[in-house]
């Protein structure tokens, strides 16, 4: 089917609009003046220096990075376990469990946040790293589970059986055959988990404490009282970090998984 003019015009518009915010953020981060604006009236590293020289920014950055790392690793491990267990479960039970894992996607984040605020407070975890981590684990779960589960579904059950009859104990069959074939799914889970946690604002905003905040929440708070370009500088660093992470993943496992995970049931290498 030939694409008509309106479709192509829309596509062109999107191609311009998608990177536009990135260009504006990165451009305005180099402004020498104390007001956020584009195009910048000059060039300076001033706001990068300010970010790197302010302990409260660096602490928030460290907390967010640690939170994202731990969330990504824990949700990915849990996802592998859940996917392995649910693969052998009766279809009904699997349906119920998968819906539960995906549930955080279905509810408004503000509602989830109020829920967390209530029960984390009761458990004495309000305003703490542990409390924030619990919330992030729940929010990352749907994104971490799917790539692993889809990867696992693509591994034919005869492969571990073949390993077994060639002499492998069940553990060896898992390590030498299942795990290597799960690698792209695991990498995607880690990446999704990390980015979801690192970017989270809505729920985190309710759960920060007087002594404890995450980087996105700190950025948001700063924007509320003054719109100076330090937030643009921080955002530019985050863009760079994320791009680096994605490139690294592409190098390690290939990002075809991001396309393939949407096509259930087909073997990626076939």
């Amino acid at each position: 089917m030939r694409t008509g003019f309106p479709t192509r015009a829309l596509a062109a518009l999107l191609l311009v609009l998608l990177p536009a915010p990135l260009v504006i953020v990165i451009g305005s981060s180099f402004s020498p003046r104390a007001v956020l604006g584009f195009p910048p009236p000059g060039f300076s590293w001033r706001w990068y220096v300010e970010f790197l020289g302010t302990p409260s920014w660096l602490v928030a950055f460290g907390i967010s990075a640690a939170l994202a790392l731990v969330s990504a690793v824990l949700t990915t491990l849990a996802s592998i376990g859940a996917a392995l267990a649910l693969r052998r479960a009766p279809a009904r039970l699997r349906g119920i469990a998968e819906t539960a894992i995906l549930a955080p996607l279905l509810f408004p984040h503000a509602a989830l946040a109020i829920g967390f605020l209530g029960w984390l407070g009761m458990a004495g975890l309000g305003g703490s790293f542990a409390g924030m981590l619990i919330a992030h684990l729940v929010l990352c779960a749907p994104f971490a589970y799917r790539p692993v589960a889809v990867s696992l579904a693509q591994i034919d059950s005869s492969l571990p059986e073949a390993a077994t009859i060639l002499g492998a104990e069940p553990g060896q069959a898992f390590r030498r055959v299942v795990l290597p074939l799960l690698r792209p799914g695991i990498a995607a889970s880690l990446l999704f988990g990390f980015i979801i946690s690192f970017d989270e604002v809505t729920v985190s905003m309710f759960l920060v404490g007087p002594e404890f905040t995450t980087l996105p929440v700190a950025i948001y708070a700063r924007l509320n009282d003054s719109a100076d370009p330090v937030v643009a500088a921080i955002s530019s660093i985050l863009i760079l970090l994320t791009a680096g992470l994605v490139l690294l993943m592409d190098r390690l496992v290939g990002l075809r998984i991001f396309v393939d995970i949407e096509e259930d049931g087909r073997h990626p290498s076939a």
């Binding site: 034919d156 005869s158 059986e161 073949a162 077994t164 009859i165 060639l166 290498s269 076939a270």
Partner: protein, 354 residues
């Protein structure tokens, strides 16, 4: 790489397995000698794969006993049975190269690197794949994948090699070629082969003995010649090759008397049509219904006349192509056969079938 002739004696003693109310394998007993090439033959769903998986240890039998060279297999996991398997979908490891696939079992056995390299090379040479050791599985043709799966299993010198329809995904020409190679390989290694197929020609041409299954039960276990020439049941007579199967009542008007309830199996190639039928002991007059000419021979269907309705089943005849002269659909013809060449099924053994 042949092993000493005495390994690979597999005894299956009234093994059964049910899934819910379905009897997938029903009291099957088979005694398979060391070094034999056995085919499991039967229609889809008759329990061939299930029995193979029980031998491999992936499924447990509900009852019965399995021994391999006197060792009881019950309770042994698949990796301790000294049994190899080529899966229907081959189950090659897509993340490993050809050589790494073949080396997989050797590495688990903690052989030295040099020893592994030597054996992998030997196994790849055995299946004529030398030179492809470094290839990825995705870069191989269907026939080459087949050979990798064989090499991966054979390099471990299993006592028994199980093959679950390993050729079914290949086109006919390649299939014929690999059938020959597989047979030669089995001779050379002396390994006991249990080969599942639902292609009767494949089973007859390759196996020393064929086990015919129907609905979970064993119908007959015999040499290809015996299976074809002396089928034990109506099911075997119909499933293995074409046959004219006639009851005592249908044959009585022709002057043949059989014990009540028994059946006569007359192979199409034992029938003659036209002038040659004049000398046959039993003759039937009728009309040629259809002629399929396939080069070396021709298949004929003859509708007999003058018989009571309901017993006028058409007769099948297989003639040399040259003997066809003038026989065309609509022509009147006489079909004859010699009952001495036909197999008789006693009433007590008529199981299965239509």
């Amino acid at each position: 790489m042949p092993r000493s002739g005495s390994v690979g004696h597999l005894e299956i003693d009234s093994v059964s397995r049910s899934f819910g109310s379905l009897r997938a394998v029903n009291a099957v007993s088979l005694d398979i000698a060391a070094g034999e090439f056995i085919a499991f033959l039967g229609p889809s769903g008759c329990g061939k794969t299930t029995l193979l998986r029980i031998i491999a240890g992936f499924e447990a039998a509900d009852s019965g006993r399995l021994t391999l060279d006197g060792r009881v297999l019950a309770g042994l996991p698949p990796n301790r049975r000294d049994v190899g398997m080529v899966f229907q979908n081959l189950a090659l490891f897509p993340h490993l190269t050809v050589a790494e696939n073949v080396a997989f079992g050797l590495e688990l056995r903690r052989k030295g690197t040099a020893e592994i390299a030597r054996q992998v090379e030997e196994a790849l040479a055995l299946v004529a794949l030398d030179g492809l050791a470094g290839r990825r599985i995705q870069q191989l043709s269907g026939g080459q994948r087949q050979r990798v799966a064989l090499a991966r299993a054979l390099v471990l010198h299993p006592a028994v090699l199980l093959l679950d329809e390993p050729l079914s995904a290949l086109d006919l020409k390649l299939r014929r070629q690999l059938q020959g190679e597989l047979k030669a390989l089995q001779r050379r290694t002396g390994t006991t082969f249990v080969f599942v197929t639902h292609d009767q020609e494949e089973a007859l041409s390759m196996a020393d003995r064929v086990a015919v299954f129907n609905r979970g039960g064993l119908e007959q276990f015999d040499t290809p010649q015996a299976l074809y020439g002396r089928p034990a049941t109506r099911f075997v007579a119909e499933f293995v090759g074409d046959a004219n199967i006639r009851s005592a009542a249908q044959l009585a008007p022709l002057g043949l008397s059989l014990p009540a309830g028994s059946l006569l199996v007359i192979r199409p190639e034992d029938c003659v049509v036209g002038t040659a039928a004049a000398a046959a002991p039993v003759r039937i007059d009728g009309v040629v219904e259809a002629v399929d000419f396939v080069g070396p021979h021709a298949r004929l269907r003859v509708a007999p006349d003058g018989m009571p309705a309901g017993t006028t089943e058409p007769w099948l005849a297989l003639l040399p192509g040259a003997a066809l002269d003038g026989l065309a659909p609509g022509a009147r013809a006489t079909l004859g056969f010699d009952p001495a060449r036909a197999a008789q099924l006693p009433a007590s053994q008529i199981r299965g079938g239509a």
